[in-house]
Symmetry: C3
Subunit: 480 residues, 3 copies
């Protein structure tokens, strides 16, 4: 019986292994982690991760051919295939700080594998890593191998939060990269046969090692670029009177471009886009390709520009000062239907408003006050690191209040910023909100959520990204 | 009977209203302020502001048709014409920090006016504000108006410290800007008729709103530019052996240029010049005019350059180090006959000397030790804000002593810096001073106050801005 | 009998005066200093300075015609020739900070001399000073002279640590600069006759004042430049497969260039090179010669580049992270056979490694833990100032351990950096070291000390500056 061991019981490792266990009754799957608490949670009824459908999958296999354990050495030593799914945060200090991926955890994992292995192994790179990482790992394994043969494969994950189980069940594609040697090709086939239990052959792509590694970064770069391109257009639309929604719709009708991922907004967020692009940029720089590095850096630049533009719109509309004014922020998560705030544009927008001395009142249906305070006092990339290493601000950030009701947040406010596209924001009683606000009352819609027409009828001055501007806003230029 | 109410009992509002009351017995004038202490002072014999002739004017009207009160709402509500004379400090954080004017107080005033008004009002902008402010204020009044009609006028002040009463009695010009609508023109006439009580018609200029606002900034920019131009010449004079006094006199003889405001010095100071120019620069930037912004920025740049040049002259003359040396500073106010130290060049010069580890001993006939310590520990623009908000340095700045006698200040000093043109500095006993100083003894005259010939005869090495250089100074180059 | 007094009993003054006393029995030499402790040490058997042969020289003359005293005024007043050998550290604040020499001590000395002198004196500049200093000193003496005549000479020192006595006995050249007046020439002859007791005439060069001052800076600039040139070549050698040792040997065979001072390394250090070049750069800037300033600045730039390159090699070789890894540093002094760590490249290399979160274990046969901790927590140029003024870090730098054994330092280390060319590092038991290290085991040889062939045979991955690269290193690019 084939034995699989997965190092890292986190957001990627857990669901992926559960799905393999479900679809391959003939394979024994063990997920190991050094965190006793996390393994305990997987073994309880209260899984440490929330994904629609995950509970059900785990329930079907746990104890049958799916196990969770803290005994790393035993299970690694016994496994035929080892998935490595550890964190690769961005380096915060030293060479490549702020750009390069920190492979410390990966390296430790590799040394441990080399240490405990007594038989040949296939090692599968599941974390997002820079191109050439597999090669480096190979070297570590080889230098510490005592004659054992290791084959390393790259098998990047393509899961989106909230749809992970769906993405695993019916993936767009499964990508497996390996060495072009006979041994490498054999290892590829072994892993391919695992996925082939439920994924159609034509969706399982096999490539060389570096192509697989690069494809993950490339896919995210291409996606983020679509957003930045639309956002770049949004600024021009505002200046010329075009409507970004009309433009995006027309552009997306071109079948060579396609309709998805073309919504203009206050900027993209999430744990991958910025991080992967910076990593890509760093690899380009290391390889002496400054032109290419600069090209991809633009995607980040426009995202930052969009967030700045939004803050400038808010401040300049309100007579160039928000000092002492109450600003309601509706939505803090990086997208709707999640509580994830990693790299959410709301962080930069709030920091910008606080920098101008505003009083900010935040409401998000899923994000805790704790999380918001931590985000606003954190440096960039810190969310990348384990939570106990994150700085807890001695006192919470002043000037910020977190409330649990949109009406509470907007009471006596001078303006409202909508930063996440939660559905509930479409159906708020805006007349009631208007009546309780200072006048003139402003709405700054960073997600094209509200109806400009209706709100203007009520009396609001409305700014919606990429839409023809209110005359009020045209008269209020400002620069940083 | 026409009723006038003035918001803000400060340096501008107080004297201006007193003069109106004096000249218009048919008008009732009330000055209101939220500071109980300030209003109490106006109501006492010890006015909170010193201006030659002010006491007399106030005495004649107080209790007749001139009143001071803290009851803002009552008097605003009753007034026909409301002068707004509140602070518009420079923003210290956020959008436009260090450049843009902070309209927070103005906005609050406008909201209050809208709130308490029950009848139509003429609102007069008396503070120095950016172009387009009146328009913004109009919008606030309109959005909160409950059907009341407000006409906004711009009526910038042109008072100089020390001659405010004189300037009010016989102004070069009174400027009134208003809307080009019939209602606007009517409001202009109403205000014009107030001033016409004592100002000749041809000195009362009426313009559109933005011209009036801009004229104030423009006038200060043109004045400051004259100084920077002469100061720029002073550097060239020193390098070539020309004498800046001769050059300025010859240039000023040209009737198209005129003789005033052409004295070379260590730099200009005062509460308006730098602030208004930065504001002008910011407006240019906001309006997409970087070339114009840059043009006016040069005026500030040369002023900073002049102050740096002076410090460099001091340090480089003294063997490139003033570490541990005693430097006497004579004069700290930004001009003679005032105790005002706002933006005085003495601050930057002293900071420069302290940065090189000098021991500085300061004497100024009108400035308190307290004020000097506050100035030297303050950030830029902080004087703009109410005094209780200003940081009081935990310990006074070390290395600085403030004394009340020029002889005390210069005792055992290695060098003397003259930074204000107080008349008394011309008649000091320089032989006595020389005898008590370290040798070689230096005088750095930042105001062309002393006689170079006489001091050189005594034995001093003298540097006077824009004068042919001592051979000593030529041999001592230095760079920052 | 001629009397000589030397101000400053430090590294230069002490040995130089001892040699003069030894060679000129007809001259009385007194070395004075304000530090009671230092003078006491000179008067004891435990001299405050260690130089091979110094003890012997001092022993022969002390009490005969060589004396050490704290009574500055008496001996200065009695002397015919006064050597001034005080510190001229780099300015840390104010005009020219980080570049210009701080002449505070020199100026005080000059004022004191002027103060106590009752007869004509020859004043000899022995410290390293900027060009034109002698002239400035002259001015101070003259302005305070009370009719006494002072002749100032420049007589720069050219001593190397560890060979000072040898350098004094058989100097390459003795340089004496003075005024071109008859009095100046007479003073030059007087000093020349002192050295002529033992130095051949043709090695005593006489020049004008400024040439002598400049020659000292120039000589160090030329020497440092040779090193930077070889180091610049080392980078190209690594990139192309040439061997810097072969290239340097071939180049040095050209008699117009000469074989000395052409060893490639991790960078130059020591108290003079960087300091003198920065001073030279500053003088060029002050004299309006930016092109020349920039030319010499390159020497520093390449030195910094070389240190950075070394750190980057270390980090990038080890999978782009040294976070949490133990790095052994062998050698900390700026060159072998000394405990002097001033400006040693080891400081920057260690800071670079610590910046990447490495754990550093240091072994140097002559440098104390205390000194290392002080160096790593110090700002640049601080070593220039008296030790009691140097900041003692509240807690020692974390992550650094200092051990007294190379085997201890390398135990469990991931890599070794050799930063000083101590002979003992050539004969370590590298097999034993290898066996106790993590694998792959790295050696980064910053001084071309070890045999790459032998170490590679053992199993090390070796990087040696300027040598053809291991394939391992070629595959590991990185950028800052």
């Amino acid at each position: 019986m084939v034995k699989i061991c997965c190092l890292g019981a986190g957001y990627v490792g857990g669901p992926t292994m559960a799905m393999i266990a479900l679809k391959c009754p003939d394979i024994e799957v063990v997920v190991v982690d050094i965190s006793v608490a996390r393994i305990a949670a997987w073994n309880s009824d209260q899984l440490p991760i929330y994904e629609p459908g995950l509970d059900d999958v785990v329930k079907q296999c746990k104890g049958k051919n799916l196990f969770f354990s803290t005994d790393l050495e035993k299970h690694v030593s016994e496994a035929d295939i080892i998935f490595v799914s550890v964190n690769t945060p961005t380096k915060t200090r030293g060479l490549g700080a702020g750009k390069a991926a920190d492979l410390t955890y990966w390296e430790s994992a590799a040394r441990m594998i080399a240490d405990v292995s007594k038989s040949d192994k296939i090692v599968v790179e599941k974390s997002t890593v820079p191109v050439k990482t597999a090669e480096a790992i190979e070297k570590i394994l080889t230098h510490n191998s005592k004659g054992i043969n290791f084959q390393i494969l790259s098998n990047p994950e393509f899961l989106a939060e909230g749809t992970a189980i769906e993405d695993l069940l019916q993936p767009d594609r499964v990508l497996i990269g390996g060495r072009e040697t006979p041994e490498g090709q054999k290892a590829i086939q072994t892993l391919k046969s695992v996925y082939a239990h439920w994924v159609p052959e034509d969706r399982i792509l096999t490539t060389n090692l570096w192509s697989a590694e690069l494809s993950k970064l490339a896919a995210n770069a291409f996606l983020a670029q679509r957003i930045s391109s639309v956002n770049a257009m949004s600024a021009l639309c505002e200046a010329t009177g075009a409507d970004v929604a009309e433009v995006a719709y027309a552009v997306g009708k071109d079948t060579r471009i396609g309709p998805k991922f073309l919504n203009s907004s206050v900027g993209f967020g999430g744990s991958c886009f910025q991080k992967d692009i910076l990593n890509l940029v760093y690899i380009c720089e290391c390889n002496g390709l400054p032109e290419v590095a600069n090209y991809w850096k633009q995607v980040i630049k426009i995202n930052d520009y969009q967030k700045n533009r939004f803050v400038n719109r808010v401040v300049s509309s309100m007579f160039n000062t928000v000092s002492g004014k109450k600003i309601a922020v509706l939505g803090f998560a990086f997208k709707k239907d999640t509580g994830d705030t990693r790299e959410t544009p709301a962080i930069d927008v709030c920091k910008g408003l606080l920098g101008d001395k505003a009083r900010v009142s935040i409401y998000d249906p899923q994000v805790t006050e704790d999380q918001i305070q931590r985000d606003l006092s954190m440096n960039k990339f810190d969310w990348d690191h384990p939570i106990h290493l994150q700085p807890m601000s001695p006192t919470t950030v002043k000037q910020v209040s977190v409330v649990w009701d949109a009406y509470e947040a907007t009471k006596d406010a001078h303006g409202i910023c909508i930063l996440t596209e939660w559905d509930e924001f479409k159906t708020l009683d805006y007349q009631r909100i208007y009546d309780n606000m200072q006048k003139p009352a402003f709405v700054f819609d960073g997600r094209n959520v509200v109806s400009m027409e209706k709100l203007r009828e009520i009396g609001f001055i409305v700014y919606s990204i990429g839409k023809p501007l209110d005359s009020w806003l045209k008269d209020m230029p400002a620069v940083a």
